[in-house]
Symmetry: C2
Subunit: 393 residues, 2 copies
C-alpha cells in the first residue's frame, strides 16, 4: 500500500457525509463551568435507576442464561407485545407484534430504512429544518434531499404536494410531535392532509416519534400512520422515556417491510442487546409507566416555562421563538443581520453554548436560527445563562 491515506479505498458514500459540528460543540459543552443549551440529552435525574436495578437482579435470577445468549433478530417477543398493547391503549392503534422490529434506538431504524429503500440519488424529502441524525444517516446512502418548510403547525403541505408532483420521492421524513430541533408539532388537520396527499403516490412517510409521549398537554394527536398505515413507517424510542444508555427503540411497519428490515438488521448486528431487552421489559411490566413518563413531562414542562419566561424577559422582542408543547427543544430566530455562529462565538467567551441552527438544514441553511435545549439545564443556571445570552444580542 503506497498511498498515505485511505481516501482512494473508501466508498463514494463516505465522501458525502456531513461533518458533525455537533460533536465538536458537545465536546466544548463538557468543559467545566460551561452553561450548555447545546445537548439533546434527557435529564438523568429522571432515570429510574433503582427500579432498573431491581429488574436487572430479577432478570439475572430468572432468565440469566437466556438473556445472555444470542437471540432473535426481531427482538424479545414480550417486549414487542408490550409495545403493541401500549399502541392499542394509548393511541387505539392495532399494531401486531409482527409489525414491530426492535432496534438500537430509532437511529438504527433510520439506518435500516436507508439501507432498505435508498439507491444513490434517490430523493428524500425532509423538513426545513430537520433532525440532524436523519440527514447524516440518509446522506450515507447518497440520498438527494428536498426540503419543505416547517411552519408553526407542521410542514407546508402545498410545498409537500408540489414536491411530490415535480419529483419522484422515495421517502418523506418528518417528526410530527415536538420536533428536534424546533419543538414544533403538526396540527391534526395537517396530519390528515399529509396522509391524503401521500396516498396518491408511492412515497413512504417515515414518521419519527421519539418525543410524542413527552407532552405538556393532555392532547394525543393521531399519527399519520393511523391514517395511512401501509405507506408509513412509524418509529419509537425508549431513550427519552426510560433511558438512552439501554439503546433500544423500535420500528413499526407493514409486515412485508418488517420482514425485509429484519434480514437487513441480521446482517447489520444480528440483534439488539438481549440483556437490556429483558431488563427493559421487566421494568415496563412492573412499573406504572404513565406515571413515570408523566413525571418526566411535568419536569420538562416546568423547565420549558422557565426558558420561555427568560426569553420573554431577557431577549429583545425582535427575537422570535417557538412555544413547544412537549419534547426538549426551543427554536429561535435572530433578527437580521445577526448570525447565530457570531452569537455563539460571543457566547462561548461567556461560557455559554448552544447549537447554531444552520446545522439542521439539508439544503440552504438559515444562519439566523439556533436551538436551545431545556430538558437538561438546571433552573437557576438556565435563567442566568439566558439573561447573559439575551444581553449579548
Amino acid at each position: 500500500m503506497t498511498t498515505t491515506t485511505y481516501q482512494n479505498s473508501m466508498a463514494r458514500r463516505v465522501h458525502g457525509v456531513p461533518q458533525s459540528f455537533i460533536r465538536e460543540i458537545l465536546k466544548a459543552a463538557s468543559n467545566p463551568g460551561m452553561i450548555s443549551f447545546a445537548g439533546g440529552l434527557p435529564n438523568p435525574g429522571l432515570f429510574p435507576v433503582k427500579e432498573l436495578e431491581a429488574c436487572t437482579t430479577m432478570v439475572f435470577q430468572k432468565h440469566g442464561l437466556k438473556a445472555l445468549q444470542y437471540a432473535e433478530t426481531e427482538g424479545f417477543y414480550p417486549l414487542r407485545e408490550y409495545i403493541s398493547k401500549r399502541y392499542k391503549q394509548r393511541n387505539n392503534l392495532d399494531i401486531s407484534p409482527d409489525q414491530i422490529l426492535i432496534t438500537n434506538g430509532s437511529q438504527q431504524a433510520l439506518d435500516l430504512i436507508g439501507k432498505l429503500f435508498i439507491n444513490p440519488g434517490d430523493k428524500v424529502l425532509v423538513e426545513r429544518p430537520a433532525y440532524l441524525g436523519a440527514l447524516q444517516c440518509f446522506a450515507m446512502y447518497e440520498a438527494a434531499f428536498l426540503e419543505a418548510e416547517l411552519e408553526e403547525d407542521g410542514i407546508n403541505t402545498t410545498e409537500l404536494q408540489d414536491n411530490l408532483i415535480n419529483h419522484d420521492i422515495k421517502l418523506f421524513y418528518g417528526v410530527p410531535n415536538f420536533q428536534n430541533p424546533t419543538g414544533i408539532s403538526y396540527s391534526a388537520e395537517k396530519r390528515k392532509k399529509i396522509a391524503e396527499i401521500l396516498a396518491a403516490y408511492e412515497t413512504i412517510f417515515v414518521e419519527d416519534d421519539p418525543y410524542g409521549e413527552i407532552s405538556f398537554t393532555n392532547r394525543i394527536e393521531k399519527s399519520v400512520y393511523s391514517y395511512l398505515p401501509r405507506q408509513t413507517i412509524l418509529l419509537g424510542s425508549f431513550s427519552k422515556i426510560i433511558a438512552p444508555g439501554l439503546r433500544l427503540g423500535w420500528m413499526v411497519a407493514n409486515p412485508e417491510i418488517i420482514k425485509k428490515a429484519t434480514i437487513l438488521k441480521q446482517a447489520s448486528d444480528l440483534h439488539s442487546g438481549n440483556l437490556t431487552q429483558y431488563i427493559l421489559y421487566e421494568f415496563l411490566k412492573r412499573n406504572d409507566i404513565d406515571k413515570h413518563i408523566g413525571s418526566i413531562a411535568s419536569h420538562y414542562h416546568h423547565q420549558r416555562n422557565i426558558m420561555l419566561d427568560a426569553l420573554h424577559h431577557y431577549f429583545p422582542s425582535s427575537v422570535q421563538y417557538t412555544q413547544p408543547q412537549g419534547g426538549m427543544f426551543c427554536w429561535l430566530k435572530l433578527p437580521d443581520p445577526l448570525a447565530a455562529r457570531d452569537l455563539l462565538n460571543k457566547a462561548l467567551q461567556e461560557k455559554i453554548i448552544f447549537v447554531p441552527g444552520d446545522t439542521f438544514y439539508a439544503l440552504n441553511p438559515d444562519q439566523h436560527t439556533l436551538r436551545l435545549n431545556f430538558s437538561n439545564v438546571e433552573e437557576l443556571v438556565m435563567v442566568s445563562g439566558l439573561k447573559k445570552l439575551g444581553s449579548l444580542i
Copy 2:
C-alpha cells in the same frame, strides 16, 4: 400507493441479499427432542451469570446515571483501554485505545467496513468456504465476491496472489483462527506470507477473530495485523468469551479508519449499549479472565474430543473431517455422490439437524460438505446423534 408489494420501492442492494437458510434451520433446531449440531451458539452453561449480576449491581450503584445516559460513539474509554492492554499482554501488540471502536458484536464491525469501503461492484475476496454473516453483510453493499480455497493450513496463497494480480480487490476477508464454518487455522507461515503478498497492493485484510481465545493448545499464532497493521482491520468479540447477549465486540484499525468508522457508526446507531459496556468492563476488571476463558476452551476441547471420537467410530472412513484446534465447529466432506442436503432430509426424520455446507460459499457451493457444532451439544446426546448420523451415511 397502488402496488401490492414494496418491491419497486426497495433499494437495489436488497434484491441481492441471500436468503438465510440458517434462520430456517435454527427454527427447526428449537423443536423439542431435536439433536442439533446446527447452531453457532456458545454453551450458556459457561456464562458467568453470578459474576455479571454482581457487576451490574455495582454499576447501578456507582455509575447508574452515567451508564444509562447517551455516550460517546467510540465506546466506553476504560473498556477500550482494557482491550488495548490485553493485546499488549497476550499478543505483544501495541494498539492504542484510539485505534479501537466498540461495536455491537463483530457483525456490526463488518457492516461498518462494508459501508466504509464497498462501492457496488467492488471486489471482495473471501475464503472458500466463508463465514455466512460476512457474505450476507458484504452482499448488502453489492460486493462482487471472489474466492480462494481454504486449505488445511489456511487460504491458498497462490490463489490469493493470482486474484490480486488479476483483479482490483478492495477487501480480503478471512478468519485465521478456528474459522467458522471449518474450524481451520492458518499456519504461522501462511500468515506471514499473506502479509507479504498484500503489502504490494491496496487491498485491506479484514481479520475476523471471534474464536482466537478459544484455543485447545498453548500456541498463540501471530495475527496478520501484527505484520501489516496499516492494511489490516482486526475484529474481536466478547460473544464467545463472555456472552453474546451483551452484543459487544470491537474493531481495531489505523486511527484514520477508526475516525471514519466512528462517524458511520454515529449515523448507524449513535453508540453501542452503554449500560452493557459498563457491566462488561466491571466484569473484566474484577475477574480472572484468562481462567474464565481457559475453562470455556477446556470444556469445548473436551466436547471436540467426543465429537472426533464419535466421527472416528461411527462414520465411514470415506467421510473426511477437520481437526479443529479451537473454536466451535467441525467441517465434514461426504463422499461423492452423497449430498449434504439429502443427508439432512434423512437426518431430520431421525430428529437430527446440522447445516449443509453449501450455505457457506460465496460462489460455487460444494454440495458434499456440512458443518457440525460441538460447543453446545451435551456429551451423551452428541454421541447418540453422531452414531445415528453415521449410520445414515
